[in-house]
Symmetry: C2
Subunit: 382 residues, 2 copies
């Protein structure tokens, strides 16, 4: 049975929990009060602003109610609010926080070539059916930043049906979708489709498209396999080898540019390794083709920066990091473009290769997944 | 006349310029070589990766050519490349870089209520005509994060024609656009349209929609004016008053959430004040309605964090910061949603207010502007 105490000034409430005491400030509690004047019961949106909460808010009294809730009376409002102690415990902020730079949240798992044995893959019809199949496939996408789709129609435009599973197309100057089509003719060396280094797409955009879908319509040429590399795994391998190198790529902005078409001049200034202010690894931008001149690295760190950039490229090129697969017509793959790099291997022989690609965003993907998980929990609780 | 010297190890080239010596590393020069094997002449995309440049690249010789170019021979490739000294000077990274946290790039100008005298505004027909009218209006949007459009059709869907001026709609679970429609009836207090605190939209998305367009179709109710506040100006005012408060909001993530509809569970963990790793102020997220419980601020900083958050809100609410205007039917405004907060004032009297809103992104907006500026420069140079 939890118990609560309040310090003499009414500033801090301490909740005794099995994991130890958890302290909460009066203003935090008041701001997070779950009563219907503070938060809309339907959508949880806050109905007041911080300006509506007195700056001298303090706890006048607190105690456990018969129903197990923590009751708190706030002065000077003379407002009484009941909190669920389980919610408080779940949202406690009274714990050690420093973590190594590059930490990842629970549920994100890095991978290397070993993932080839168990590439996340959903059957298109099953995914369209929704339910657990869709939820688990989206869960894999969030966990690994990458998943395949099998047995989708091998028709132009079918990639939009893949996007419809979780979100919305991000239209760009390339259109709502783009064609990746190659006629492989070995008599013309310039056209045999050389391999591309693994990269994230469009780092010259800010915001980058956070999801990419590639869908195969034709694939009769030998070679031309797709390959993916976990950029988070690569960045963390760099960190573990050489923390200073990791810091250099995280602490300085690179420049990316694309001015290929009339009316287009896309530029961005962002780091190759992007961290949240508390060190969470949140994004990777890596694309040799669209790198512009680096001008934001001080002179005395430029050589070390280049060495770090080179080493990150070597790690990305290490075959021990890559998962290679061949898309058959009607198959597609989806990547988190802020994390997973993709590439195409070189072709050999004759034939055609035709993919359609498009961009989308992670906000809707995560929302679709999380809403399914939440609905499942609410149902289970009833 | 510029001159160049090379250090004995071939690691550093020094260019004498009127502003003083500028040093460039061998690997940087090689990576930025403008020759057609390194960069595609058409679109400027890099044709090689860093892995194609030897790790022991050094400068074997360098000198000025008769045509004024800097010629550099790189070993071990034995490759000779000519650089434009003006390009080198423009991209020099050999200068002091530390700047105060919250610095803004050239061309971004903060503002307060004084901007009311000269709100950037474009005539819709003139903007559709392109050329200088469009270029300058987009330039104002990039400078101030905000601009109006006058004399657009007062028809549903006309907001898409505003987006067509510079980019693409970002579709979300709210659709390609959303309706902001209120019948003001003073006999029903709950429906008189209370004012909203200035906010950025959808901070619970990651990525947030970086541009918002609001277009007026009907406006017969008294009140309900629109108001905008420069979030960059507010953040920098906070910094100048109290650097620790600014740092608290920049160094810790807030949490934002929206779970209002079936199938929707949008969450994000990002700071209210977002800085690039070198301290550039790149984004503001401020929205009391969608703030979730703060759990990423350590216990011993939570009270100070709340004080900083409160003070930022007070600055945002200060009427000296706000530009207020009334949209007439056929008028629209566009905001950089990563910077400029917007709000609606309370209504009084009877009547209707009908706006349509939609989201778009800054990458295309900046690209459209920069391509026009670039084309103008190329033309002028011919």
């Amino acid at each position: 049975m939890p118990s609560v105490t309040v310090d003499p000034t009414g500033t801090v409430l301490t909740l005794a929990t099995p994991a130890g005491p958890r302290r909460f400030h009066a203003v935090w509690l008041r701001d997070n009060a779950p009563d219907p004047e503070t938060r809309a019961p339907g959508n949880g949106q806050k109905l007041i602003a911080l300006r509506d909460i007195p700056a001298d808010t303090r706890i006048a009294a607190a105690g456990m109610r018969g129903d197990g809730r923590v009751e708190v009376r706030f002065d000077p409002e003379e407002k009484t609010v009941a909190f669920d102690p389980a919610w408080l415990e779940e949202h406690a902020y009274d714990h050690p926080t420093p973590r190594a730079r590059g930490w990842l949240p629970a549920g994100v798992e890095t991978w290397d070539a070993g993932l080839a044995e168990s590439v996340p893959c959903g059957d298109f019809a099953a995914l369209q059916g929704g339910g657990a199949a869709l939820r688990d496939w989206l869960g894999s996408l969030m966990r690994y930043g990458f998943a395949k789709v099998a047995n989708a129609p091998a028709e132009p435009g079918a990639l939009f049906k893949v996007v419809d599973l979780f979100g919305y197309v991000r239209e760009t100057n390339y259109g709502r979708h783009f064609e990746v089509r190659t006629e492989v003719d070995p008599t013309n060396l310039a056209f045999t489709g050389l391999g591309l280094q693994a990269h994230t797409d469009n780092p010259y955009r800010d915001p980058v498209p956070t999801v990419q879908v590639l869908h195969c319509l034709e694939s009769s040429a030998a070679g031309g396999e797709n390959m993916v590399v976990d950029g988070f795994a690569a960045a963390l391998r760099l960190r573990d080898e050489n923390p200073e190198a990791f810091d250099l790529l995280a602490d300085h902005c690179a420049r990316f540019e694309y001015v290929g078409e009339e009316g287009v001049c896309l530029t961005a200034r962002r780091p190759m390794i992007e961290l949240a202010p508390d060190g969470e690894l949140v994004g990777i931008r890596f694309n040799n083709r669209s790198c512009a001149a680096l001008v934001d690295v001080p002179f005395d760190r430029m050589e070390a920066y280049y060495a770090a950039y080179r080493r990150l490229g070597e790690i990305i090129d290490d075959t021990a990091m890559e998962v290679t697969f061949r898309l058959a017509p009607g198959e597609a793959f989806v990547v988190d473009n802020t994390r997973v790099l993709h590439a195409r291997k070189a072709y050999s022989g004759t034939g055609t290769r035709w993919l359609q690609g498009c961009y989308a965003d992670k906000d809707a993907l995560r929302s679709t997944h999380d809403a399914m998980v939440r609905a499942g929990r609410l149902e289970a609780a009833q």
